[in-house]
């Protein structure tokens, strides 16, 4: 049997807005993926450690506080340092369009802005996750 795609949904930073994170988590689960949700206010270290332990294929980050330019690249950097080279890191939240190219340059694979159908995230993961 083919291994299910495993995704970690993480909430870095101090904000507690978890509506988006939880809707995405549920939609990915309904699409047949295995989803782990970190809970709120996780440091980049905690998120990367959970990703390692849970052997995930992708990490989805949600942030609405404006701290994305600091926290997203930090998660990418730590993940690569720990050898999570194939893990897809994507994100969403209140993120100005102008910041998207800079985040991609820092290694974030995709940024989903408000209004994105959950189906787009499902398709993105199915297309991009490298099967182990």
């Amino acid at each position: 049997m083919e291994r299910k795609i495993r995704v970690l949904i993480g909430k870095p930073g101090l904000d507690g807005h978890d509506r988006g994170a939880k809707v995405i988590a549920r939609a990915l689960r309904d699409a047949g993926m295995e989803v782990i949700y970190t809970g709120l206010r996780q440091t980049p270290e905690q998120i990367v450690n959970t990703a390692l332990q849970e052997d995930v294929d992708a990490i989805g980050l949600s942030i609405l506080s404006g701290a994305h330019m600091h926290l997203f690249p930090e998660v990418v950097k730590l993940a690569r340092e720990k050898g999570l080279d194939d893990v897809i890191i994507f994100g969403g939240g209140i993120i100005p369009k102008q910041d998207v190219p800079k985040l991609k340059e820092a290694g974030v694979a995709e940024i989903f802005l408000p209004g994105t159908p959950t189906e787009d995230v499902v398709k993105f993961l199915k297309k991009n996750v490298k099967r182990k």
């Binding site: 930073g13 101090l14 807005h17 404006g66 802005l113 959950t118």
Partner: protein, 553 residues
Amino acid sequence: MAHKSKDLKEWEETTLKGFIEKRPERKEKFTTISGAEIKRLYTPEDIEGFNYSEKLGYPGEYPFTRGVYATMYRGRLWTMRQFSGFGTAEETNERYKFLLENGQTGLSVAFHLPTIMGVDSDSPLAAGEVGKCGVAIDTLEDMEILFDGIDLEKITTSMTINAPAAILLAMYVAVAEKQGADLKKISGTIQNDILKEYIAQKTWIFPPKPSMKLIVDTFEWCSENLPRWNSISISGYHIREAGATAVQELAFTLRDGMEYVEWAIERGLDVDKFAPRLSFFFNSHNDFFEEIAKFRAARRIWANVMKNRYKAKNPNSWKLRFHTQTSGFSLTAQQPYNNIVRVAIQALAAVLGGTQSLHTNSMDETLALPSEFAVQIALRTQQIIAHETGVANTIDPLAGSYFVESLTNKMEKEAMEYIEKIDKMGGMVAAIEAGFPQREIQDAAYEYQKAVESGEKIVVGVNEFVVDEDQPVEILYIDNTVEERQIKRLKAVREKRDKNRWEKSLKELKMAAQRDLNLMPFILDAVKSYATIGEIVNTLKEVYGEYEEPIFI
């Protein structure tokens, strides 16, 4: 069962039937944004047996369905209060002066997340967050700068702060004292509503019981020292934004309010001494009539429970006064100029629902913090409603509408069913510990998302009427030097304060917490000794511990 008169039946079987056969309706079922079914037509039969004085009464009188004041907006318009704060205290002070010069009538402080979480700006947890979604306040010195040149006796200030509300209130009082203001005259609101944090917004610090204790401390202290201060703003806003339906927003918010009342009565406070200073905060979403009915039902339910369940005797204890904010969630990142229209309609619903104050969202809020240009349009939207549309000329103009009255009754009934359910669970703290409201909201949020993705609910510019080209919007960027400047000031305050006094104030605060005394005087002393918010919160954590959320998806 409502009895159908011959006329209505006849109309259905003749005129209507014939018409529908030729031209079927657009949909089989028409629902509100909350998924509640709405009928084709409302007639006197939908409010059969309607008793005017029991259900509506007159403005300023029980059960206040028509409004809490006898003249409503003919006497005084609602307070136009735009929520704002970013960067350091200097930058926000400048924005406040801009808003006041533009005709805004009250201030509303947005704090940055480290302050909201009781963390100092130089903590590793604050990295990247300083000044981002609100103003950075670490010590009394920041608060002095924030209100520099603003006379606290002359304005009212609302502070969106919850877990550490007592600390920020103490800082405000200390600034007012320094200005030489009479505390009996200063007026404003602290949000101070921890229950909706556990339920929806999720910026908590301590576990529920010590948090409730701190809140009752502020009720007690304010009723003696700050008689014009609203010691809490019981908030449905965040509950709705997290995905609740309109009925859930109504029910959970009012049951939260009842929980605070019960804890304060348990402490031995006289209900009529603190209840007149309880205030509320609701969301105004897109579904126009559902929102208006929600506001009217809220007043009626609150009046009823305060009078009959909690035996309050002072009519001011029965009045549900509320602030409204238009729905941030309803705004779209696509074609952002359309948001101006959404906000205008939502603001109109709040006014027709009898709000006491209003924040209108800026069109660019799905992208970043609002620019000055966008904030000005949002404020002008309120001014146009107030001065050009004529809706403020008469009180509760939709009363007597078969539809609005029937919807008001229905929402009241459904909210009461939720309230009874939570009563049976042992109250709101118990319900939260069981994850009940959190799950209800999470399910509703997911249902709504599915309805949008299936096209059952249309969101203009998102799943219909989509365009490819971007509408460029100018965005407010928070200057990168904010973090550095704020940390520099914080370190300087730590250096120059009186070490002995500072140490003593924190020691006494800890002892007071251990002995379960009212903490307000001790917190006031600590802020005056320039203890930082992080130091005060950490002192209390040593006694109270921290909350851990039950996680489920």
